[in-house]
Symmetry: C2
Subunit: 121 residues, 2 copies
């Protein structure tokens, strides 16, 4: 069974954290049967952390996890912190397959999306 | 004449700031004649600030400015800081038309984009 974990930074502002939970629900609605589970986690400040979310996923039988960093910029979190967490998870769960996708800011058509959002937003 | 200012948070990591400059260039390439100027600015940590960018725009004859907040979450920066800056700019340049679009995280098809990025990223 496979899972997608949307990984956000985490905020002191509770509404921002709830936005991620809602976003995961929206993704769930349109994902059909591509994933058995759509989950979310936060890198800092708020739980579930990525490792907690991975624990939860493993506990329900997931063995293939894709992490989508919901970040605009590929900074230190992407370059250093997330790989370190995935290394820890891989050591803990060697049978599980882990993949980290490029962050959401790296989507190919971002310039077009910016123009559209500026026009109608 | 009109301008689009892509407003990012600003980072201590210089590469992340350069990403915004590159992004503005990419937007410029595809924007055709929708804007006379595509510019960028940072909310914190690095220059040009939004107000500096607005000054520069006004100095070259821009009188219609759209600000696109390049943020995923509509936190305090969006709710409080950016409106306060726009108020200051409006007082300084009452002849200029200012518009702030919804932040990039609010794009309608974000759940679909997340699935696509997770698949191929």
């Amino acid at each position: 069974m496979n899972a997608l974990i949307i990984l956000a930074h985490g905020s002191r502002r509770q509404e921002s954290n709830l936005e991620i939970k809602c976003l995961a629900n929206e993704v769930k609605k349109i994902s059909k049967d591509e994933y058995n589970l759509i989950d979310y986690a936060y890198l800092e400040l708020v739980e579930p952390t990525l490792l907690q979310s991975i624990d939860n996923n493993i506990n329900v039988g997931i063995s293939d996890i894709t992490v989508l960093p919901y970040f605009l910029s590929s900074g230190n979190h992407i370059a250093r912190d997330i790989p370190a967490m995935i290394e820890t998870a891989t050591e803990k769960y060697p049978e599980c397959k882990f993949k980290v996708s490029a962050c959401i800011g790296m989507i190919e058509n971002m310039p077009k999306l910016i123009l559209e959002q500026a026009r109608f937003g």
